[in-house]
């Protein structure tokens, strides 16, 4: 494991106003090192997604500190936080959030172009990443022409392509069957292990446990437990992760 790529210290976050105000995070401490895959597990309403949003610099904490690759997010304005996300964090969403009108390669190169990469360089890099995850032959396909597993792999490619040190995945296997879920988790585990990125996966899915280096449990806005996981990709490397 390399240095900490993400760190939350005594993070408190309230949501809503007045009578509807809810303290979603109550002094959370969490860190993630490069090269490890951490599962964040907990019941519904425990604060998993809020914590993911705070760690992803989408929400700012009311108290406490979040550091991304050593840089504190305290006091940063929304546009500065957006820049930080773009530079260091890749997101994988439960329902993929691919752009339905763009092809797989365009969905992947989007992150690079937003970051200012030249269009043809971005396209070449995106194709390389799609080739790494075994989807080069689907580069020109629209999301609707891909299976659920392929769509999620394209979403992972989008998160990987910008060399983000951290990948935050929100229920990446929730919408997938067993085989595709296994394939996606294998890919995330390999991304962490081989590319030394920190991968934090929010999940309810017990099938993901064998892939984790650590499992962090959250309940009622507090970290209530932490255990070591199996520590990597179980079973033989499949064709999906062979390129990595």
């Amino acid at each position: 494991m390399s240095d900490r790529v993400i760190e939350a210290v005594n993070v408190v976050k309230s949501l809503g106003d007045g009578a509807r105000k809810v303290q979603a995070l109550k002094g959370v401490n969490l860190h993630l090192a490069g090269g490890e895959l951490v599962l964040l597990m907990g019941p519904s309403g425990s604060g998993k997604t809020t914590l993911l949003s705070v760690l992803g610099c989408i929400l700012s904490p009311n108290e406490g500190t979040v550091r991304i690759c050593g840089q504190s997010t305290s006091g940063l304005q929304p546009e500065a936080l957006a820049k930080l996300r773009l530079a260091h964090i890749g997101f994988v969403f439960q329902t993929y959030h691919l752009f339905p009108t763009l092809t797989a390669i365009d969905n992947v190169r989007l992150v690079l172009e937003v970051a200012g990469e030249r269009p043809h360089h971005a396209a070449a890099k995106a194709m390389d990443v799609l080739a790494l995850i075994g989807l080069a032959h689907k580069a020109r396909a629209l999301p609707l022409e891909l299976s659920s597993g392929e769509q999620q792999r394209v979403a992972i490619a989008r998160a990987m392509v910008g060399n983000a040190a951290v990948i935050l995945a929100d229920e990446p296997t929730a919408a997938l069957d067993s085989e595709n879920g296994h394939s996606v988790m294998s890919l995330l585990a390999e991304v962490a292990k081989i590319q030394s990125r920190g991968v934090l996966v929010v999940t309810h899915d017990a099938r993901t446990l064998p892939f984790a280096n650590r499992v962090v449990r959250i309940d009622d806005g507090r970290i209530v437990g932490e255990e070591q996981g199996a520590g990597g990709s179980p079973g033989p490397t499949d064709e999906v992760t062979a390129g990595l």
Binding site: I89, F93, V114, P119
Partner: protein, 433 residues
Amino acid sequence: MKWQEILARSSEVQQQAGRLWRSTLGPFLARSVGRAGHYSRLVTQFCSLLLAGQPVVPLIVKLAAKNLFHDRLRFIATLIGIVFSIVLVSVQMGLFLSFGRMVTTMIDHAPADLWIIPRGTKCFEDPSLLDERERFRAMAVKGVSDAIPILISFAQWRVPNGGTVPVLVIGANLWAAGLRPWNIFEGTLDSLSIPDAVAIDRSYFERLGSKGLGDTAEIRDQRAQVRLVTTGIRSFTTTPYVFTPLDRARAYTATPPNKTTYLLVQLAPDADVEEVRDRLTSTLAKAEVLTPAEFRKRSRSFWLFETGAGAALFAGALLGMIVGSVIVAQTLYSNTKEHLNEFATLRAIGTSRMYIQIVIIVQALLSAVIGFAIALGTGLLVVKVTAATALPVVMTPTLMASLFLLTVAMCVTSAISAIIQVVRIDPATAFTR
């Protein structure tokens, strides 16, 4: 003591200005320059790729285009809004230009350095009369080479098979350099010296009950025979022009032989227009002396603004713009609303607000360019169809360029509601949808 206070305050103001610059203005300017540089680099890259034959379209353009064309029905509705609006504006403005040209066509074709007109004349068709003595007074003024009388008056043209049509008789001495028919289609100017000869425009044949050269009619119970036919000399009103020599025009309109409507002044070589005008103004008590440009301006101003015709044209154009803007704004707004989830994802992955705003502006620009191209084609068709009518729609390069800028401005302004919607988007919704 006072100086010390002033110096101290001056130093304080300087420090405050410095703080303001460091905290707000400086970073703002730096950010603005940085953003402008970034997006100008994007445009440059796109152009250089196109020139190099590697058309990898920047995603900011591709995303905008895909969003726009994805829902074809909505896109067609947007285009209809733009086309309707711009065709309406172009027709109204084309009519305005055409109207402006037509109301001065006689002034444009009269070879005068100065016009002597009855005091209070509002336009060329205003048939007040000057006394012939004014002509001799004018001729006596230093710098005047000639003062050619022309008569303008309404009369009734009795068609051979019954009924009358009001006409505007224009009488001029055909042998002096006065207001003579131009665009001759059939016959010669000499033929107007034949007794009872008149010239009419072929576009009025049907209205005047004439089939062409040789046809006869009556004006004020006197015979009038068509001896000359012109083409394209039309009045913006429905009243046809009838050209004839000055004396015959007086007879057709019952104008006394010592009366005339205008005097076309021709200057002696090397005479100064302003000096001659001043001398004429002080000499002629019952007349005004105008340059052709001034008379054109007065005629245009009367017909376009005092009659309300111009206001009606502008109101039509304004209505077109409002309707077009509302349709474009509505469709861009609903299009953006439909793609809010995607814009939230863009924000979540770290895209700046400016990038998303540009996506929407590019959508507006694409709509503007495509809508303008269709509207221009339609407008040119209208120009062709109306070319031979009483009031043809005119399209000039300046009007085209203005319409294009108007289309772009209208579409970009219409994008504001969509932009406001996107600016408020919360990237956290990417996790909850």
